[in-house]
């Protein structure tokens, strides 16, 4: 009986384990491994790559040109994350304190863009921001109304409206990244704030603290693990963003992902692209490890260990 059961459970184990393990190994780890190997390789002719163990690709990645793009990517992702935090925090707070009837709808409203195709959302921004887009159209209308008002009181009309260049620059990239990543920030913040015991905030008010003071000495410290989560969850995809800088950015707003893409699709320098990919991946892992480290420290702190 016992023997039969143990064979059965061993069988169950392998039946459960093999398919996902094989899939991850063959269709995920091996491809990554190949890229990793390529990053130590050299180009041979037009398509061949020989893996010679060279570090030349990494050395090249640390040339000022690429370092600058890396730094710029980190900066853009950082600004995006900060803006998402500033915009998203009040949103999360308002949803947490919304009535039972409203809360699911507000959450749905935050999630819906998250489920909508990234390409479409970026495209929608192009339509809004381009020189003949809605923003410029609206501004032109205001400008012309002002001009008309001036003529009405007998003054010289304003000069004709010059459309603002809102697209194909760094502003558009940050705008687009914030637009796309805001739900990534709001949802973890919501989860963290929702877990917070309200009587702690009430106690703080009761003891004489104002709302801002309560926010910074009670809410933020206690919601810190959630805030860190939100920051990392926003920062990581923003750092590796390809589509937004590609479609909304100008020639000087390339991010690291665009450079990688070019190595593989246009410049045909796979080893160098592979090295850049792995550097991006390491940066991502560092961010995630940082999150694990910070939230563990906080959890231990909260438990007074």
């Amino acid at each position: 009986m016992a023997a039969r059961e143990s064979t059965e459970s061993r069988l169950a184990f392998w039946a459960t384990a093999l398919p996902p393990l094989l899939w991850v190994a063959v269709f995920f780890l091996i491809p990554l491994g190949v890229i990793w190997a390529y990053s130590f390789g050299e180009n041979l002719g037009l398509t061949g790559v020989s893996i010679s163990g060279t570090f030349a690709n990494y050395a090249r990645a640390f040339e000022p040109l690429y370092l600058q793009i890396f730094a710029k990517s980190v900066f853009v992702a950082g600004v995006t994350t900060l803006l998402c935090l500033i915009i998203g925090f009040p949103v999360a707070l308002a949803i947490v304190f919304a009535s039972e009837r409203w809360r699911p709808w507000l959450l749905l409203l935050v999630m819906l863009p998250f489920w909508t195709n990234l390409l479409i959302r970026t495209y929608a921004l192009i339509a809004v921001l381009r020189t003949e887009g809605y923003v410029n159209y609206g501004l032109a209308w205001i400008w012309e109304s002002a001009s008309w008002l001036k003529t009405l009181v007998g003054l010289e009309p304003l000069a004709p409206y010059e459309p603002l260049q809102l697209l194909y620059n760094n502003f558009a990239v940050v705008f687009g990244l914030v637009y796309v990543h805001l739900p990534f920030m709001v949802l973890p913040l919501y989860a963290a704030l929702d877990r917070l015991d309200r009587s702690l905030m009430e106690a703080s008010l009761d003891l004489g603290a104002g709302h801002l003071r309560t926010l910074f000495s009670i809410v933020v410290p206690l919601a810190l693990p959630g805030i860190i989560s939100g920051v990392i969850i926003t920062f990581v995809p923003a750092l590796g963003a390809y589509l937004t800088p590609d479609l909304l950015g100008g020639p000087d707003s390339q991010m690291i992902a665009n450079v990688i893409e070019r190595q593989f699709k246009k410049a045909n320098d796979w080893p160098f692209g592979a090295a850049l990919s792995f550097l991006l991946m390491y940066a991502t892992f560092i961010a995630i490890a940082l999150r694990a480290y910070l939230s563990r420290g906080k959890a231990a702190d909260a438990h007074g260990i």
Partner: protein, 383 residues
């Protein structure tokens, strides 16, 4: 300030807290329905009632954590309408204690003083004093999760008291403690109140707790105050069936008032027939209208069935008695509760102290007995 407030303070003492015609609605639900109440300085006041009766809402409005829909609240004569929670001279001990988990005990207590910009040396001494007051002086450096529930409650107490509020608010202060600790804390809370000398207002659903600690109690039901009085007022002279039933245990008989003279009142209760209930004084209510008679179990005496009915004090023969069979005996240690079946409806509950270890005249299951009560024991209620 020429409001037509119909709640003039009865005593000459200026009340520290005045609720005037307070109404609180949550959507269409009326949580507090036109409550007016004065609380005097130095009282240990309890708001007592079942859950959902509006007592916590009333306390939270006083703290400024909820805003009344109508009416006004005065603290020490000052209208609180425009004063936010963080500027009110009251402090609260929360039901969950709400001790800040990321601050040490001392930092928790110092929090309110830091906000008031109390200078460092004074702050230190006041924190230490407050901690000593609640006997936590030695745990100042601990983090809250290294404390027991009782200790956390003391932190919450110290944290509120260190601000020297005019009134301390306690929301179900003992409900999260285990039974033994609860008993001890009752005593400690009233000691503490006498020591600091300020007004305490406590919300509780536990009638024992309110009776044991409070100097005055407001019993609340469905958003209104059902009765206001001292613990013995409420217990001995309940104003309604709700209060009689909510505070302590009671036998309730429905009946008709048949006679109401200055020195004598008689109520006929079908459940007690053929014996009538007799009281040696006038009662509220009109003759020939329905009333309820409430008698506490400990005010009923049990008699062996010796053939002749007993004659209780202060009343004519044949009144204030009933005959029945013991259906059940619950032995509680200090007392025993007997359930007597008169065969006409509800069981009559009689409580009897177990004075000696071997009861001389013990009663047994299924035994035929008489019960009786003094004329002054029952209370006649109209609602």
């Amino acid at each position: 300030m020429n409001d037509a407030s119909p709640a003039p303070p009865k005593s000459a003492v200026k009340p520290i807290i005045s609720f005037r015609n307070i109404v609180k609605k949550f959507g269409s639900m009326v949580a507090v329905d036109n409550v007016s109440l004065d609380i005097e300085p130095g009282e240990f006041f309890a708001l007592l009632g079942p859950s959902g009766c509006g007592k916590t809402t009333l306390l939270r409005m006083l703290a400024g954590l909820e805003v009344p829909t109508e009416g006004e609240i005065l603290i020490d004569g000052q209208d609180m309408r425009t004063i936010p929670a963080n500027k009110r001279p009251v402090n609260m001990v929360f039901q969950s204690y709400a001790v800040f988990p990321h601050m040490s005990v001392a930092d928790n207590v110092a929090y309110g003083l830091k906000i008031d910009r109390v200078p460092e040396p004074e702050r230190k001494t006041r924190v230490q004093e407050a901690l000593d007051l609640v006997q936590l002086g030695h745990l100042a450096a601990r983090m809250p999760d290294q404390l027991s529930g009782g200790q956390r409650q003391r932190v919450a107490l110290a944290r509120a008291l260190v601000k020297r509020p005019k009134v301390l608010l306690l929301d179900e202060p003992l409900s999260a403690l285990d039974a033994k600790l609860r008993e001890a804390m009752r005593f400690e809370l009233s000691q503490l109140q006498q020591k600091v000398g300020i007004t305490f207002i406590m919300v509780t659903h536990d009638q024992d707790e309110a009776l044991a600690i409070a100097s005055r109690i407001a019993v609340m039901n469905k958003g209104s105050i059902a009765q206001l009085g001292t613990p013995s007022d409420l217990y001995e002279f309940p104003a309604s069936r709700f209060v009689a039933d909510f505070i302590g245990s009671v036998n309730m008989f429905e009946g008709t008032l048949v006679r109401d003279e200055p020195d004598e009142a008689v109520v006929d209760c079908p459940e007690l027939a053929p014996h009538a209930v007799h009281l040696p004084h006038a009662v509220p209510g009109k003759v020939n209208t329905p009333v309820w008679v409430a008698i506490r179990p400990e005010k009923i005496t049990l008699h062996k069935d010796s053939g002749t009915p007993p004659t209780p004090a202060e009343c004519p023969a044949g009144h204030n008695i009933a005959k029945g069979v013991i259906r059940e005996i619950s032995y509680l240690g200090d007392t025993s509760i007997f359930h007597i079946d008169t065969g006409k409806g509800n069981l009559i509950r009689v409580s009897r102290p177990n004075r000696s270890r071997w009861d001389q005249d013990s009663f047994d299951w299924k035994e035929q007995v008489w019960v009786s009560w003094a004329g002054s024991s029952p209370v006649v209620l109209l609602s």
